[in-house]
Every structure is written in structure tokens, then in C-alpha cells.
Assembly symmetry: C2
Homo-oligomer: 470 residues x 2
Amino acid sequence: MNSVSSVSHYSPDHAGLQKALGVLKQRFGELFQDSNALREQHAHTTTYLPLQMPDAVIFAESTQDVQDAIRTCAEYKVPVIAFGTGTSLEGGVNAPYGGISIDVSRMDKVLKVNSEDLDCVVQAGCTREALNVYLRDTGLFFPIDPGANASLGGMAATRASGTNAVRYGTMKDNVVNVTAVMPNGEVIRTAGRAKKTSAGYDLTRLLVGSEGTLGIITELTLKLYGVPENISAGVCQFPSVDAACQTTIQAMQVGIPIARIELLDGLQVKMVNAYSHLDYAEEPTLFVEFHGSNAGVAEQIEFFTEIAAQNGGSGIQWAEKSEDRNRLWKARHNAYFAMLAYRPGASGIATDACVPISRLAECVAETQKDIAELDLIAPIIGHVGDGNFHCTPLIMMDDKDEVRRAEIMIKRLAERAIAMDGTCTGEHGVGQGKRKYMELEHGSGWAFMSAIKKAIDPDNIMNPGKVIAD
Amino acid sequence: MNSVSSVSHYSPDHAGLQKALGVLKQRFGELFQDSNALREQHAHTTTYLPLQMPDAVIFAESTQDVQDAIRTCAEYKVPVIAFGTGTSLEGGVNAPYGGISIDVSRMDKVLKVNSEDLDCVVQAGCTREALNVYLRDTGLFFPIDPGANASLGGMAATRASGTNAVRYGTMKDNVVNVTAVMPNGEVIRTAGRAKKTSAGYDLTRLLVGSEGTLGIITELTLKLYGVPENISAGVCQFPSVDAACQTTIQAMQVGIPIARIELLDGLQVKMVNAYSHLDYAEEPTLFVEFHGSNAGVAEQIEFFTEIAAQNGGSGIQWAEKSEDRNRLWKARHNAYFAMLAYRPGASGIATDACVPISRLAECVAETQKDIAELDLIAPIIGHVGDGNFHCTPLIMMDDKDEVRRAEIMIKRLAERAIAMDGTCTGEHGVGQGKRKYMELEHGSGWAFMSAIKKAIDPDNIMNPGKVIAD
């Protein structure tokens, strides 16, 4: 290619859409639904982006169903949007050009657990919690935990991660292969189950993070891990956010294999306390968890406690019993709802900066300065072991000036993360909300993403309006 | 795309080639070489594939040099083949359609060590050994070790791994970003240095393993690790290859984080003894290494010793001092030369099966049956913790019947690995030698690789004749 051409804007064809709807209704019967309520539910987005409804929803029950739906959509050039649990934060399930939402939530089976190989095969609609319930008696677990009880297919599609990623990696590291229906209706399986392969281009990792714009994932093989002999979680307060960040940086640098290390600023702790009926000191806080053998965890804790103390950290308050530990992490996972409850009527605008860990403290400090200067309410919470944090301005969307100030803060944060050789989206994906930063972040690389999109989906039917340029 | 079209066969254009050679000679002066000796050296292949020389060699000294060379080649549609150290096993540096070999071995600098972020930036021609020498006083190291002292750019391009991959992953897991010159001459950097990102398609992992067919890597950011407090290596003999495989499988299943676990069959041990002047018992053997804290390694060793004993393994003979450990791994790394020395005049034909670990023992056993049935000399050595092993028939290439029998064995092995949901190439790449198995291994996925190739390199100038279909 001498010049990288961009993907053409999707142009809806009303007659084609009507024909497709007719064919799909006939093929899918009760699995085809076009009530307003269902369409609206499938444009669900948990952020400030407006709802954009699909024209109909198909409840797929098999890869064959997805294939049949996509073949029809391809024939009539109708957009196809994959839907799992609808927990995307960047408008991933919105349908800006209408089209068909393919809901895979009924494809929720665990198809196979290969305990000898430490992997399992699941349908795309199986959620991470359902998988872990299924695995309960095997001594194995799937670690990736983005908070929401998301579908595993959706987690793969957005390259999700979350609290455990600091130790276990992201979906990129834990998806062995995917089965996907491609825009021309062909079904591919991107790899076998070998632990490694150098057999050509890495289609697995091309589809992981492609957000339904290259194909729809219907099945996936995931890595599993043995449940550690010892899991210890606790809470530690610090005199400043900087001290908590420095503790994190130093712990990572000396190589402590921490399983989770989550920062909450004082405001966020206050919100969590109120929502989850807890009484943590309302100061910058790290929630930490260690996994390993008894001896290994003891060693990790010893190292960590020393580093925390050097930075002025309190002694760690341990969640000794598993129910205390669950309460701790549930409170952490409910942080988003705690924020919303703290300022009724406000929208929380998710941000997702991720920077090299050496820049973390500086990135957080400059962001806090912005928050103060712009007079915003914006708690900070983050997967700081990965250099990733979420600062979430709580905004009254009808207060134009507040919206404007929030936009300034968000733009500065995204640009700051990129300038620090990081990313504006560590784990939430691009969707609609982050497209505007992609050229700044990727430079000339972004056009190559468009070229790949165009090669695989020349009619731009797969989740149009997401990830790449229109 | 309604039907995936394949990439067109490269058609050399003699007049265009001559013009390109003229322009490049003028631009590069002494850095442009077209002597027969240098051309032949740059078609070096350490396997049975024939040498196919490029028309000229350019010794690039910067990304700018690579860019200028590629721009000229793009203009005249002349093939471009990247060359690092020439240790590819599947004909990766061969030039079946002639063209320009771009030798990056002079781009050998470590540009930056970000010790706080546990990463470093290197030029593509820097070798893994040179990097580790450079890091010697930092307390950090780069673990990926394919045996050969390969260039890091080449290792990324072939998605290399080797003995340490069982613990540290492959190049896929350890390349943070690459800078690459694309077929249209544009320079892209695939990502920043954040530990995670969900900002669009994973161009890093698309280029890792693309074997120079999509772009030429000129710089890369790599993950580093703290040198473990304790490194313990040893050797353990078993009554059968199966017993050694079972030990490996069980050790992986209980989650011992072994840093290396290498199987050698009795024949291979005999060859290694002769070549490296050692006196190991000539029985199926595991070379193992453990990394961690003192307490952690003691725990790993205790678990492993117990599992080995249950499978009839001997006590572990420890390589206590670091020079003994180096001698052990040097002997392992010289296994290929030991094979060749064992049967002077023979060619070693590298194979690279990788299967889910639950199928490893069966795959090795069936392969051994073939070796016996076909009356071949073919030692087995492998990274068995990953389910990956190399069985290398030593063949007198002028003995047509022996060549025929070896081909039967190799074909059966590749097809067996694929049938077991594995791959015929765990770490050597596709190159020329493994292309014939790609359709069997990937099914309809292979055509999507061709579609990506065509989108990014429509004139097929980047390493034509490799990885994908002509």
C-alpha cells in the first residue's frame, strides 16, 4: 500500500435493512426481537455516551446462529454488533448506524475443562463468575477480574484486565485461542491449545481487543491457574497518594509478585465506606492481595510491609477470613456504584490512563492538580501495579460549565498519559469514546489498523463507528 | 471480503531490479555490497533448505537507512529480506525471488534501560547475549534464550522462545513495542511503554512472528526481570522418556514455576557427552533450573524431587557453582552441533512440534515408534514444560531412500502435532519449510493471514515466499 486508505463511512441502506430484518425474523423466530425495550437494553452503556439502539436483537444459541445472522447481514450490508453483558464503558455495544445486535448471553456453557493442560473451553457468553463457580471443585480458577461480571467473550473482545492483571496479565495473556465468525460468514479458530506457537500471524491477539470490529468471538480457550495454597488480603493507609504510589512502584521494582494492588484516594475511600458500610480511615489507601504457598506469601508480606513502612504506611489490616476478603473486594468492585450514590443524579465519566510505572506518581499528582483547579469531584482508584488508574469525574450533565470543565480534565489526562509513553485506555477499549485520541497515540500506526479492518471487513459491517476512523 | 484472495506470486522485474541496485549503491556506498561471498552468507540457513541468495546486501546503521532502502525497493517492487544473525531454521533469510537483504547487525545498541519500569529499548541487531552483558551490573536480565545468540529483532520477528519460556513466556509475552519500517516506507511504533493497553488492534503482536513479511523491525522495547536471588540447576535421569515426560507434566500441573525443564533422550545425551566432554548416564534425562528466593527455590526443589522420584527418577545431580551451571546449559545449547558431529556429513532436519502438555508423552512415544520403524537416527530434545520438542533426523542428503524416510517421519510428526491440537512449529516460525502445513493447521484462518499481508504489503515485496501462500 502506498498510502493507507481509511475505511469508508458506513452508509445505511433502508431497503437492504428491511430485507435483512425479514430474513432474520423468519430464520430466528422467537430468538429475533425488535421491541423498543430490548433494543434499548442492548445499547446499554455505563458512561456518558448517548444510547444508540440497534434495529433488532438476535439471541444466538450457537456459533451456527451467529454465522447465519452474519451471512444475512453481510448479504444486505447491515451492521452487526456483538453483545455479551453490556458492561462496556466506551460505547462498545452502541449501534450508531443501527443494525443487528447479536446477543451471545445464552451461549454460556463451559464446554471443556482440560485440567491437565490448565485450560478450558467456554462459549463467549459465559461470564467470569459463572466460570469460577463451575471450576469450584477442580482446584483451578480463572483470575482475570475486571470488576463487572462480564462475559468472557466480551472481556476478550475489549482486552479487559482489572485487579488481578498485575500478577496474571490481561486477556491478551490468557486467551489461548478464539473461535470467531468473520465478516464474510466464515468461522475460524485462531490457534490450537499448545502453550506456544510460531505458526504465522497471531490471529488470536488480533481478535483479542478488536471490539467486534473484525469478527464475533463465539468460543474461546482460556488459561487456568491452580488456586493458591495461601491468599492473604489487607488494607494499608498512607499519608499521601504519592506515598502509596511510591510504595507500589518500589514493590514492583523489587519483584514482589503481588496479586492485586489497588489504590483508592481519600475521597474514594469515603464513598466506599458510605456505600458498603465500612469504616476505613478516609486516607489514601492500598488494598493488596498476595497469592502463593504459605512460605511464599509470608515472604511477600514481609517485603511489602517493610516498603510500605518506609513510605509512612500504616500496619496492614488483614482480612483474615475468606468472607472478610470477599467483603473487601466487593467493596472495591462496587466503587463505581459508590461514586454514583455519593452524588445522586451525576454521571461518572470513566477514564483509564495507564503509564510506565516510573511516571505513575507524577501522572496522578498532575491529575489531582487539574481536579482541584477545575473544581471537580473526581475520585481516583486504580490498578496501580500496572501503572493504570481511573479518575472518574462525577458530573451533572445538565450543568454545561461542569461538563466543559470535566472535558478539559479528561482531555488533559488522556494527552498526559500518551505524552508519558502510556495510553489513554489501559483496559476499557476504544469503542466510541476514545477514538479521538487514537491518532495522537498511534501516529502512522493507526492507518495500518484501518488497513487491516478494510481487508477483513471491506463493507464495514462489523461494529461500525468503533475503534478505527470512520 | 466475500472471498479471501491470496497474495499474488512475486514476479521479478529485471529492469526494475537493476535500477534499484543502482539507486541503492549510490545512496549506501560501502554499506551496499554485492559480492558472491556476502550474498551467500546472507542466505545462510542451518537446515536442509537450499541457499537462495539476495542480489545485494545493505548494512543498515539506522532506522533511516532501513526506511531509505525500503522506499527504493517499494518504488521498483524489489524484494526486501531482513537479516539479523542468520540463525533462522526455516529459511527465513533465504531470497527465493532475489532482492535486497537488509542486514541490521550493525544496529546493535542498547538505547535505554528503564530499570524502574523493568524494560529496555534496543536496536534490532543487538543480540540477546550482548544485551545481558550490558545489563550485568543492573541486577536485571532478559530471559528469552533460544540457544543461538540471535538478534533480538530476529527473535521478535520469528516469535522465538527456548529454554526459559516455560517460566518467562515467549517473545510474544516480552516485547512491549516495536518500531518497524512498513512496506510503504512509513515508520510506525506499535505501542508505548505502559504495561497494558486496550487501544485498538495489537500491532505489536501482529509484527511479532510476522517474519519480516509485514515490516522490518528496527527497534524494540523488551521486558526485563530481576536476577533471582537463587538459581539452582541440575540433571535427573529417568528409566524411560515416558517417565521423564510424566514428571514434567505433573510438575507443571501442580504449578511449580520451573525456569527451565529440558528433555534429552538417551541418544541425545550420548551425543552431548561426546561433544562437550561430559559423562552423564546415557539415559532419558531432564535438565532443570529453578529461580526464586532461597526459600522459594528450596520449596520448588522439594516438590520437584518428590515428583521425579515417584516416576523413577534418579536423585538430582546439582550444578552448584555458576560455572558448572553455565557448562550444563552450554552443553544443552550445543546439542545441535553435537548431533552434527555425531554423524559427520549428515544434515540435521529441525522439527518443532508443540502440543498440549497432556498429549506430550503420547506424541513423543509415537514419534519414537516412527523413528524405529523408519530406521532413522533422530535424537529428541525439547522444552517439555511447554509441550514442545525437537526431533532431529540426521540425514545423508545424497541417500535418497533415507531422505524419503525422513520426510515420512517429519510429515507424520507435523500432522500428529496438529491433530493433537498443537502446532508443527512451536518456536521456529513458518519461513519456507513449514508453509505446506499451514492450511492444515489453520483451516480457513490461513486465508485471513493472506488478506492481512495483502492489505499491508500489496506488492508482496516483504520477504516474499515466506509464511503465507504465494
